[in-house]
């Protein structure tokens, strides 16, 4: 028999880890059963994280799995559900590994009292990192259950089989016992710190099958609770005084007119000035009555001059990777092409603005927060309120999407502060204007590329410089003898907050790289798909390109062909993607209509093909926005876009026919699915616009004005 359970000595060693968790009364809250604690990062991740964060992570394990006394499987994790479908796909993995019905598995997510520490839901980590450990924990739990069953039925483990949570003796099928019976009255803890033996992928019953959103029913009935939906007696609605621009400093504030409104309470706490009322309308009326004066000390930059500022900034140049020698590459090139690409600031613009509801009972703070980072939010609240961590509970209800924007959680601290000052529960639900103002925009960026090729169309030089986009997605991906990638960052160039935006860095880098490849293909007089295949060695990239061409029904042609076909490919979070698109360009107005988009994705083992397809469709749809219209307009710290009238996101009339292909890779580790399919959207549309019109766009978004201007030059 394989030794599946840790010996007592090892268990004792883990006592220290467990003590932390015990302190938080997990067991009191959760009752008995089997608990498997696990750590969803590998050792390298942990080291890197420590280096990045400049502090050590909490020692406790990051998640745990519980087999309850009635045979249910509960997984507690700091990850959150924000539409990406983790609440649906993670139970598929556990149901398979534990041999229990899918319905018996439940996720408990983003509650800091119930779930162990987690840094947050971002970077498509939930499946490719977290689920790997979760699956191992499930395997460990099964091993414990089999051991218990062996003792219970008095037969060796090797003679046992499990079906739907029922363990039976293969030699005597009347002898059986359920997981529930096995866990009854038990309290068994295990700590996963080694590789578990996993189920053979060929035996999967749930993984790889399409599952509909598990949370759909409560979302179509209005029952699903979001952070501003928490019903508490005595709830106060808060509106907070906001500066007119980033960089503005409050000099004076006259709140006397606001105070005159019956039923309104005005609160001042240092810089924080808020009006609160039982009625949201009254708070809305009161906040505009506050007369405030500011001094302005802003960076003199706007959405047109930002690119010069980026290029001239004192930044740190960091060679991310290099191969051969660019000077030699230049010498052996027959054609050298230099291009400069610009990308604008864009907003996350989830339909749910940031919101938080806070309540304080005695010395215990509870906050329901719309966030991708419940534990960092808990830390921020504890720090700002000067209380120990365990006195703060952050609960993450459903999150009305994040895309990176809800890693920032300023609203949680605001709500808690106001609850403390007023002694009442408080909801801080940002207006759309506040959402645009405090959003951590995707940074504007510049990419400069000097590339060369020989007469046959082989790429001989690739000198790539990315300024403030970030290096994600800046890989050369093509087989080039002489290449170098340099990343410029770290200087402070932005007049307001920036942050991770769905596939950070990669949207800008893939736009630049894949546009440049088409520029070269066109110059070489070679079809852009053929040009890529000629210069690629990466089998996976070749695989997705061929798959997408097949799905699209692509035939070769030199660009511009007049057909309006575009192509682009790239990698993100361990996944390979390739896109093709067909567009129509109105040559009088410069308006682009995307007719159809096909996308092929190699994401390793696909847990839930339904969920993965929906993410691909979502990426394609959302990605049309940054490609065509989305752009933050600003003057210094003054954000001009305040709502969806001036910041245009994709609508029903934009939506193309979408075809998706997921490569069959059951034998490989699962990779990210929430971000990859958005990275090509800038380039695939830019290349299609070129193919339609002969006009090359070097800047996103490709607004009608920019398209008309490019057409004039073409």
């Amino acid at each position: 028999m394989r030794k599946a359970i840790k010996n007592d000595k090892e268990s004792l060693k883990s006592e220290e880890h467990i003590r932390e968790i015990k302190r938080r009364d997990f067991f009191k809250l959760l009752g008995g059963g089997i608990f498997i604690f696990f750590q969803p990062f590998d050792a390298f991740d942990l080291l890197e994280l420590q280096a990045q964060q400049g502090r050590s992570l909490p020692k406790d394990f990051n998640a745990f799995l519980q087999i309850t006394e009635d045979g249910l499987v509960n997984c507690y994790t700091g990850k959150v559900e924000m539409g990406q479908g983790a609440i649906t796909s993670l139970p598929q993995i556990m149901a398979d590994e534990l041999d229990v019905p899918y319905e018996k598995v439940k996720m408990f997510m983003g509650d800091t009292d119930l779930c162990p520490w987690d840094r947050g839901t971002n970077g498509s980590q939930t499946i490719r990192t977290f689920s790997i450990s979760m699956r191992a924990a499930a395997a460990e739990a099964k091993a414990v259950l089999m051991q218990l069953a062996s003792e219970n039925l008095h037969v060796p483990v090797s003679r046992l089989e499990v079906k739907d949570g029922l363990v039976s003796d293969t030699a005597n099928n009347r002898s059986k016992v359920s997981y529930g019976e096995l866990t009854k009255g038990k309290k068994i803890e295990r700590h996963l710190d080694r590789k578990a033996v996993l189920k053979d992928a060929a035996k999967f019953k749930y993984v790889g099958k399409p599952y509909l959103h598990q949370d759909a029913r409560i979302k179509v009935t209005g029952e699903a609770e979001f952070s501003a939906d928490i019903k508490l007696p005595g709830l106060l609605h808060a509106r907070i005084l906001r500066p007119p621009s980033h960089g503005a400093k409050l000099l004076t504030a006259d709140v006397s007119e606001a105070e005159k409104i019956k039923g309104v309470r005005v609160v001042r706490d240092g810089e924080l000035i808020a009006v609160l009322s039982d009625d949201r309308d009254k708070a809305d009326q009161a906040i505009v009555k506050v007369k405030a004066e500011y001094s302005f000390d802003e960076i003199k930059v706007d959405d047109k001059t930002i690119f010069d500022r980026i290029l001239n900034a004192k930044s740190t140049a960091n060679v991310v990777r290099s191969n051969g020698d660019p000077e030699t590459g230049r010498k052996i090139s027959d054609t050298v092409i230099e291009s400069e690409f610009h990308n604008s600031y864009v907003a996350h613009a989830p339909i749910e603005p940031h919101a938080a509801t806070a309540m304080i009972e005695g010395d215990k703070i509870t906050a329901w927060v719309s966030t991708q980072t419940p534990f960092p939010a808990q830390e921020s609240i504890a720090r700002e309120m000067n209380v120990p961590l365990e006195k703060v509970r952050v609960i993450t209800p459903f999150v009305g999407a994040g895309f990176g924007g809800k890693s920032a959680h300023r609203q949680s601290v605001e709500a808690v502060k106001l609850a403390r000052i007023t002694g009442r529960p408080v909801v801080v639900a940002w207006t759309r204007q506040e959402e645009f103002f405090y959003d951590t925009f995707r940074p504007a960026a510049v990419v400069k590329i000097t590339s060369g090729m020989d007469k046959s169309g082989r790429i001989t030089l690739w000198d790539y410089h990315t300024y403030y986009a970030g290096s994600r997605g800046s890989d050369t991906i093509y087989d080039v003898q002489h290449s170098r990638t340099t990343d410029y960052s770290r200087g402070s160039v932005h007049p307001f907050g920036t942050g991770a935006w769905r596939a950070p860095g990669n949207n800008t880098n893939t736009f630049a790289r894949e546009s440049q490849i088409n520029i070269m293909a066109s110059k070489a007089g070679i079809d852009p798909l053929d040009f890529r295949l000629k210069n690629l060695k990466d089998e996976k990239m070749i695989g997705v390109l061929k798959a997408v061409a097949d799905k699209f029904g692509y035939t070769s042609a030199k660009n511009p062909s007049g057909r309006g076909y575009g192509i682009a490919c790239g990698t993100d979070v361990g996944t390979w993607v390739a896109h093709m698109a067909e567009v129509k360009v109105d040559k009088n107005t410069g308006h682009v209509q995307v007719i159809r988009v096909a996308c092929a994705q190699d994401m390793g083992l696909c847990i839930n093909p339904q969920g993965a397809t929906i993410q691909m469709e979502g990426c394609i749809t959302m990605g049309m926005g940054y490609a065509l219209t989305e752009e933050i307009q600003f003057q210094g710290g003054n954000i001009r876009n305040q709502s969806f009238d001036t910041y245009e996101i994709p609508r029903f009339s934009w939506v193309p026919k979408i075809d998706t292909v997921i490569m069959d890779r059951k034998d490989q580790a699962p990779q990210g699915g929430g971000e990859p399919a958005i990275i090509c959207m800038g380039a695939v549309i830019a290349n299609a616009v070129f193919d339609a019109t002969g006009a090359r766009l070097y800047q996103l978004p490709m607004t009608p004005e920019r398209i008309l201007a490019a057409m004039k030059k073409a």
Binding site: M82, G83, Q84, G85, L212, H213, D215, A216, R217, K219, V220, T221, G222, E223, A224, E225, F226, A228, D229, K231, L235, H237, D279, R280, D281, A349, P350, I351, E352, P353, F398, V399, G400, A401, F403, A429, T431, R432, Q610, I614, E617, G618, C619, I620, T621, M622, S643, F644, D645, I649, P650, R651, F652, S653, W654, V655, I658
Partner: protein, 158 residues
């Protein structure tokens, strides 16, 4: 300033004593406890707050509650009958026509209004009718299919 406002909310007679200038959205959410109706932009651009007023989809974030006086209001919570979901709710589930689910109530309420006027909408009719409801997750293709399917089912008699 406060007065009694009466309306029929999801089939129930409702009477509230309040300032008639209060916004219908906030009254529904915080006085009536119906938080399925969402705030998205407060300016009528996104449609997350859509409810039916006398069978017409309206943006509750733009409407004083007095405009609803003596009228029939239906919110997302009032669509199901005796636990039996409305064909649009079922179709949204069947087509997985949502991700984060925040815009979903507004989408469904707008679609109910659309199908009441035009039980057999073409794809173009749906696009036109739904154009001013925003979804950031990109569920549009599925929402269109769900509305088409629900329209067919409703015509088949429910």
């Amino acid at each position: 300033m406060e007065e009694t406002i009466r309306f029929e909310l999801n089939g129930k007679r409702t009477e509230l004593l309040l300032d008639p200038n209060q916004t219908l959205l906030w009254v529904l959410r915080y006085k009536c406890g119906l938080t399925g109706t969402k705030y998205g932009c407060g300016m009528g651009f996104c449609g997350a707050c859509t409810v039916l007023l006398e069978g017409e989809p309206v943006r509750s974030c733009m409407l004083p509650v007095s405009d609803a006086a003596n009228k029939k209001i239906i919110t997302i919570e009032g669509l199901a009958r005796n636990g039996d979901l409305h064909p649009l709710q079922k179709a949204f589930m069947e087509y997985d026509a949502l991700q984060c689910g925040y815009c979903t109530p507004g989408m469904i309420m707008t679609a109910v209004g659309l199908l009441m006027k035009n039980p057999e909408p073409s794809q173009q009719d749906i696009i036109k009718g739904m154009e001013d409801n925003l979804c950031r997750c990109g569920s549009h293709v599925r929402i269109i299919k769900a509305i088409q399917t629900a329209g067919k089912e409703m015509k088949g008699g429910r």
